[in-house]
């Protein structure tokens, strides 16, 4: 009974709004834009969080990534002819870091090389990583075929290679995979496995396995290829000596990541004369995302707030006009026996219908904004259930808040005066 009554009230409200379509629509606009902004704001925020979490998943949430960089001084002198730059992390650094912190669970050293590789007539430059078996536990990736490097020194001295999907596609093409022998540099390597690889950039931190074609045991890499690399540049050959290009450290508790990172930073600071490394913490990406979310929330939140306020006042204004216009109707209803609260309810329902309709249209508009943002800025956006329900709830609340005063004015109409009203 009560429900059908509410249903009839809502229907009556819709009918009254349809009597003045343009007026109702214009009245709703403020709420439309307000709700649209809220939807956009929430979707950008959710998107940023999701993106950050995704990046952290790719990078490993407990991981610290320490990369070798050419220090500023080195960069300046390296233009000299036949100069050899020596920089970056050393085997010694890796050893010391791994030994010194009790919160470190495992570490993996990374040695990066570009090597011409060959399978029969096919010659390709492969990006090769020399590392230890720990790598595959630090950066867990699906094994597509075969196996990864084995621990406890079993693969240490054997020339074996684990290819990534990229690498496998390049060098193996349609050849049989596992057990295949390929040539890397001037040596033969046996392909023992293929792993899936993640692509893309994660914030300003390089994903560890991005653009890697093959993994080989680090001992083998060191033994076969040494630590000196020759880069061919326009100004002649440029030689660099780098022991380790990267070091990945996994901490056993995400809460300790920052503290350990700071400790590593300090330790390296003591042994390195030049700042030729950089310590990055994937977890910090979450902070970046939060910061971006805050910026968006301030901008869109104020747009939303102002639109909703103006929209609410607009609705109130129109409803006040409507009450004046319908004084006679109110008088008739009161004379017939409608109580004050029934009049309040009728007008309140009408306002809520108006604002909620605005809210629903706003959802549509707001659903488009994230699409545009994604299209133009390649920012991830995500519309969640709460991202839809919250704006709807806000628009209904606007209706109640700004409808209450006009509704109370309507209820105060004196039927005797109203019926005399011509």
């Amino acid at each position: 009974m009560r429900q059908t009554r509410l249903g009839r009230n809502i229907w009556l409200g819709i009918e009254n709004l349809l009597l003045h379509k343009l007026r109702s629509f214009l009245t709703m606009l403020g709420v439309v834009f307000g709700v649209g902004s809220v939807v956009a704001m929430l979707s950008v925020g959710e998107g940023a969080s999701k993106e950050a979490l995704e990046q952290i998943r790719k990078l490993g949430s407990n991981n610290i990534i320490i990369s070798s960089i050419k220090s500023a001084e080195e960069e300046a002198t390296s233009t000299q002819h036949s100069h050899m730059s020596i920089y970056g992390l050393t085997y010694e650094d890796h050893h010391r870091v791994a030994e010194s912190f009790k919160d470190i669970k495992r570490t993996a050293p990374v040695k990066l090389m570009r090597k011409d590789s060959r399978l029969r007539e096919r010659v390709m430059e492969l990006r090769v990583v020399g590392t230890t078996p720990e790598w595959f536990e630090l950066v867990p990736r699906e094994i597509l075929a075969g196996r990864v490097l084995l621990g406890s020194g079993q693969d240490d001295d054997t020339p074996v290679a684990v290819l990534t999907e990229f690498g496998a596609r390049k060098i193996l093409a349609t050849e049989s995979t596992i057990g295949q022998t390929i040539r890397i540099g001037s040596d033969q390597f046996e392909v023992i496995g293929i792993v899936r690889s993640e692509s893309g950039q994660a914030g300003n931190i390089q994903i560890p396995d991005q653009e890697v074609d093959a993994y080989i045991p680090i001992e083998v890499a060191r033994l076969y290829f040494g630590d000196v690399f020759t880069k061919r540049t326009s100004g002649g050959d440029e030689r660099e000596m780098v022991e380790l290009h990267q070091m990945i450290v996994q901490v056993d508790d995400p809460k300790k990541v920052e503290a350990v990172a700071a400790g590593i930073e300090r330790m390296l600071g003591q042994s390195h004369k030049k700042k030729d490394y950089v310590v990055s913490v994937p977890l910090a990406l979450l902070k970046q995302a939060e910061a971006m979310k805050r910026r968006f929330n301030i901008v869109l939140g104020s747009i939303a707030g102002i639109s909703l306020l103006v929209g609410g006042i607009g609705i109130m204004n129109i409803m006040l006009a409507s009450v004046t216009e319908r004084t006679r109707e109110i008088g008739i209803r009161r004379a017939i026996g409608a109580k004050r609260r029934q009049i309040i309810f009728q007008f309140l329902i009408e306002t809520v219908v108006l604002s909620t309709t605005g809210g629903i249209i706003g959802l549509g508009v707001g659903g488009l904004i994230p699409l545009l943002i994604t299209y133009f800025s390649h920012m991830t956006t995500l519309i969640t259930l709460s991202g839809v329900l919250l704006p709807l709830f806000i628009s209904m609340t606007i209706g109640i808040v700004f409808g209450l005063y006009p509704a109370m004015r309507a209820a105060r109409v004196d039927p005797i005066v109203a019926l005399r009203h011509e």
């Binding site: 009554r5 009839r8 109707e329 008739i332 209803r333 004379a335 017939i336 109580k339 039927p415």
Partner: protein, 236 residues
């Protein structure tokens, strides 16, 4: 039901006891009703007459539970309603009274059916029963074909018939008619008056305010007012 049992014919369905209504107009006090004592019997048909300012409109508002007395008492169907609050008065209007106005007072955006259903809506009737009742009443006033028209598509006489149907929807014992023919031509007005006479014959108590003697002639009794008091009574 208990309250109705209290109402015996000697007491009257409507009874005013030294009823006074005083309006404050700036510094001046206007005595719109200056001590009226009268009783209307169940099934009677009264015309309240008098020049403007005589207090007949005030009398109508008081009897119709639209306004409250300054002092004195008003018994409606045996119950003293003169001290009731706004909600309680609304409830009395809804359950016991029907109104017909000079300017019809239909809600323009609602169809004939929805206008007739209005009291039923506030009584909490469901849609199906309300629609049946509205159709029945429209038939009774001769507008069975116009249920889905809007008031603006009707003639004055038809609009007043809709108003009569609406006044009957809650099956009231008392119907108030405030200058019901004031906006109608003589012939149409005559038809509406005939409708009221029929309703009275069916047992409804009818109280009509008018200033025209030939309209008042249709009522069984006439009450003349002047300066807020009863001038004379022609009981039929």
């Amino acid at each position: 039901m208990g309250k109705e049992a209290l109402c015996d014919d000697h007491q009257g369905i409507i009874r005013l006891d030294n009823a006074q209504k005083i309006y404050q107009m700036g510094t001046e006090q206007v005595r719109a009703l200056a001590g009226v004592t009268i009783s209307f019997q169940k099934g009677s048909f009264w015309a309240i007459m008098g020049p403007s300012g005589s207090g007949k409109s005030t009398m109508m508002n008081i009897l119709g539970c639209l306004d409250r007395l300054t002092s004195g008492s008003y018994y409606l169907e045996g119950e003293d309603v003169s001290r009731l609050d706004d909600d309680a008065l609304s409830e009395r209007r809804l359950r016991h009274l029907g109104f017909i106005f000079q300017s019809f007072n239909l809600i323009p955006q609602l169809t004939v059916q929805r206008n007739i259903e209005l009291p039923l809506y506030y009584l909490g009737w469901d849609a199906i029963r309300s629609a049946e009742r509205a159709a029945e009443l429209a038939e009774q006033v001769g507008l069975g074909e116009r249920l889905h028209h809007r008031p603006t598509e009707l003639s004055g006489g038809q609009m007043q018939r809709v108003a009569v149907a609406r006044a009957l929807a809650n099956d009231p014992q008392i119907i108030f008619a405030d200058e019901p023919t004031g906006n109608l031509d003589t012939a149409t007005g005559e038809q509406i008056l005939q409708l009221l006479v029929e309703l009275n014959e069916q047992g409804k108590t009818i109280i009509m305010v008018t200033h025209e003697p030939n309209i008042a002639a249709h009522a069984k009794s006439r009450l003349h007012m002047i300066d807020g008091v009863i001038d004379r009574i022609d009981a039929g």
